[in-house]
């Protein structure tokens, strides 16, 4: 294999590929990037960690077709260090044992592993891809991602973002960690795939992938793997293989009371009251009255912070919430007004903007 590629194209491709490459791994091949030059005007670069594969196509002059693997970290650092617009020649040499990289007067040699040992992650089989606006999907994903269990902390069935296609014409993204549930819905056209659960670390990678996409992306899934495709790049991930929790069961159909408040006003008040709260403890108390809410942050040794905002409420209660969740929700919601819909201080409260009822959060109180 021998190719010449422009530095900027190489760097852009490597930046995407790096999302799937792990720096420290016990399998040396997984530190490498696979270069595939099979046509005469482009090269495909791929990285994988066995559960996720990121591939990018880049324009290149292919002198000699073929495949090679080389340390992804090094190739990316080389591309970074070269001046914009430079041409980079990459050649498999030494009977396939080394890759030579040249640009201007710079020369690099790096060992190469046999590309035939590359662990291929097979894409979804015969799945009809769904077209969806990249920016809208990215925003929806960001809206629920923080409500999932973090990756690698146990409770694997909750360390996912659920892509729910059960309702015709809708993609509902749901995530929960048992204390908070986030929900965003997007309208879709075309035949949807079966619902699937995306691991939270893969959801983070997908979010990055979508942010650098223009226009539409396609999503395809066969229940085993999911593949997102944008112009010149794909992201393929294995899916969580168990069923998702019955999330619709816990969303209250109706609530007894509604407290309406200015979203930004409450967000700032919660943050202000939390100044007195220690980092570990996140307890924020709300004393909800008919026309005002007192926000109380309680810290150690009697420290506390109080703030008050005007509200319109149909009922009164004294309730505790995890302050961090509450401020994350208030940051994630949009619109000037937010409704807190509740029945009691011991059951889940709903938070949403009345103009966008499909973007809501369910927050479980904390017993004070």
């Amino acid at each position: 294999m021998k190719i010449t590629i422009e530095r900027d194209a190489l760097l852009a491709a490597m930046n995407h590929v790096a999302t799937a490459v792990q720096k420290r791994t016990t399998i040396p091949m997984l530190e490498n990037v696979l270069l595939k030059a099979e046509t005469n005007d482009c090269v495909e670069l791929s990285g994988t960690d066995l559960d996720m594969e990121a591939s990018a196509l880049a324009q290149a002059a292919v002198e000699q077709s073929g495949q090679a693997t080389v340390s992804a970290d090094r190739l990316r650092n080389i591309a970074r260090s070269l001046p914009p617009g430079a041409n980079v020649q990459i050649e498999l040499a030494d009977n396939g044992n080394a890759v030579h990289i040249k640009s201007g007067r710079s020369r690099f040699q790096s060992p190469s592993l046999d590309p035939r040992d590359w662990p291929l992650l097979k894409g979804p089989e015969e799945a009809e891809p769904l077209r969806i606006d990249a920016k809208a999907l990215a925003a929806a994903l960001e809206g629920v991602r923080f409500t999932a269990m973090p990756h690698g902390k146990g409770s694997d069935n909750l360390a996912v973002v659920y892509f729910d296609f059960e309702k015709t014409g809708l993609l509902r993204l749901v995530a929960t960690n048992r204390h908070i549930l986030g929900h965003v819905a997007l309208t879709i056209e075309g035949a949807p795939p079966a619902s699937f659960s995306l691991h939270t670390n893969h959801a983070a990678a997908l979010s990055g992938f979508l942010k650098s996409a223009e226009g539409e992306v396609t999503l395809a899934s066969d229940g085993r793997v999911m593949r997102a495709t944008r112009k010149g790049a794909t992201l393929t991930t294995k899916l969580y293989d168990g069923p998702y929790v019955d999330w619709e069961r816990i969303v209250p159909r109706e609530t007894q009371e509604t407290t309406a408040f200015d979203r930004e006003g409450l967000r700032i008040a919660v943050q202000r009251a939390a100044i007195m709260v220690d980092e570990q403890s996140n307890l924020t108390k709300l004393d909800v009255g008919k026309d005002s809410v007192t926000i109380i942050g309680q810290g150690e040794f009697g420290a506390s912070g109080h703030d008050e905002i005007a509200v319109e409420s149909t009922g009164e209660m004294s309730v505790g919430y995890n302050g961090r969740y509450l401020s994350e929700i208030l940051s994630a919601l949009s619109g000037a007004r937010t409704d807190l819909k509740w029945s009691s201080p011991t059951s889940g409260s709903l938070l949403c903007c009345p103009d966008a009822p499909d973007h809501f959060y369910l927050l479980m109180p904390v017993r004070i």
Binding site: H179, V245, S281, E300, G320, N322, V366, R367, I368
Partner: protein, 421 residues
């Protein structure tokens, strides 16, 4: 030579056998008495002393605090120790040595409350208190001379007296110039002792001690050292740092330094407790899930009690099982929110237990929490409507137990397991 009376704190003139002011023989003298400031305080037979305090009839009798027939001794009073009983000794051995000993089941909540009281008294004399366990701690009193109007030694003697008067248990104090020697000293004059190892005498004091005297040198390392010709700390000192480091690496170097009484570790009050746990050994091996669950519940209550006293909550729950062949199995789970509730601990513990109670016989079960933080209310669970209600019930039952005594409210499960043979 500097000295004072540990009873009335009056100066003790050289040569006097008793305090000229109060007549007490409890005098302490040392040439470095007023310059040393690192102390180790260790409660004497802590659990047993508390039991004796609470029940005067036990006075003068051998008392052992510990689990049933197959458990181990948690604490033995000084009368029991004359029969050769010591803590961590299997109960059956202890009872063989002293069949008329009075065995008392440990009541963890009581001990941790008292331990906390003592710790607060320590914190009254210096903020630099590093707890080692419920009944021992290191204190750094450097720079407290003016604050307390007396040397660290005097402050410690007053603290010792205050603990005795207010809590009703005795402590032994070791005073020296570093933690290693302070801890060593606190063991020299037990019970109700006050021992000092000064800088000048450090080398002589350590010279003839066996290598195993140094903490961290276990039986196998000690054996290896002896095989290589190092029997005493003087032997280690003669060999020198280089030789020790070359032979045994990091631990060799550490040993070489400690053999000269050099220990640079600071008294660190920040040192966090990594976890709290509670365990029990059965009289008969158990394999049945229901029987194991019955044993698990009281442990969860005990653990939760301790966590509540200290106002801490754990994010990780660990179940420990010991097989009949003494192999230890641990299973852990990270919770979505930290807890200190017996109910939550039991629910997780039971889930973990289900995976292991599939036939093998177990001799011990334990439960612990780690990744500790301050408790900040009981988190509700979107998927478990009852969680907050059960939390409220547990808090109410705690309040009742506090008011009416430990057995005021117990779960049916406890009564069932008590009725079993």
């Amino acid at each position: 030579m500097d000295g004072f009376c540990r009873h009335c704190f009056a100066d003790a003139p050289d040569g006097a056998a008793r305090c000229p002011a109060c007549g007490s023989p409890r005098l302490i003298r040392h040439s470095e008495l007023h310059t040393l400031s690192i102390a180790h305080i260790d409660c004497d037979a802590f659990y047993a002393s508390i039991e004796k305090r609470d029940n005067p009839e036990l006075e003068g009798k051998p008392v052992i605090v510990g689990g049933g027939r197959r458990g181990v001794v948690s604490a033995a009073c000084y009368v029991a120790r004359t029969y050769g009983i010591h803590s961590a000794m299997p109960m059956f051995k202890a009872l063989k040595a002293c069949p008329h000993a009075i065995v008392i089941r440990p009541e963890g909540r009581k001990y941790s409350t008292e331990g906390k009281r003592i710790r607060e008294m320590m914190q009254d004399v210096t903020p630099l208190v590093q707890p080692v366990s419920i009944d021992e701690a290191f204190l750094d009193l450097t720079g407290t001379h003016r604050l307390h109007g007396g040397s660290p030694a005097l402050t410690l003697a007053r603290l010792q007296k205050r603990i005795h008067q207010e809590v009703g248990v005795t402590v032994s104090i070791g005073l020296s110039h570093n933690k290693f020697l302070a801890k060593t000293a606190s063991d020299l004059d037990k019970p109700h002792g006050f021992a000092i190892i000064g800088k000048a005498e450090t080398l002589d004091f350590l010279a003839d001690k066996p290598v195993g005297f140094v903490f961290g040198v276990g039986p196998s390392f000690a054996k290896k050292l002896e095989r290589d010709g190092y029997r005493t700390l003087a032997d280690i000192r003669r060999a020198g740092d280089k030789e020790l480091a070359a032979r045994y690496g990091e631990s060799g170097l550490r040993l070489a330094r400690l053999s000269r009484g050099e220990d640079t570790r600071a008294v660190n009050p920040e040192r966090e407790r990594k976890g709290v746990s509670s365990e029990t050994t059965f009289n008969e091996d158990l394999s049945d899930l229901a029987a194991l669950e019955d044993r698990l519940w009281p442990l969860c209550v005990k653990l939760a009690d301790r966590a509540k006293v200290d106002n801490i909550a754990g994010q990780v729950v660990t179940l420990k099982l010991k097989r009949a062949d003494h192999r230890i199995i641990t299973r852990r789970r990270t919770l979505t929110a930290p807890t200190q509730l017996a109910d939550a601990l039991f629910r997780v513990g039971r889930e973990l237990l289900k995976g292991e109670a599939t036939g093998p016989r177990y001799r011990l079960i334990g439960i612990g929490i780690s990744e500790l933080g301050l408790s900040t209310g009981d988190a509700g669970d979107l998927f478990d409507d009852g969680a907050l209600k059960r939390a409220a019930a547990e808090r109410a039952s705690d309040a009742a137990r506090l008011k009416f005594g430990g057995d005021a409210v117990v779960k049916g499960r406890v009564l069932r397991s008590q009725n079993k043979p």
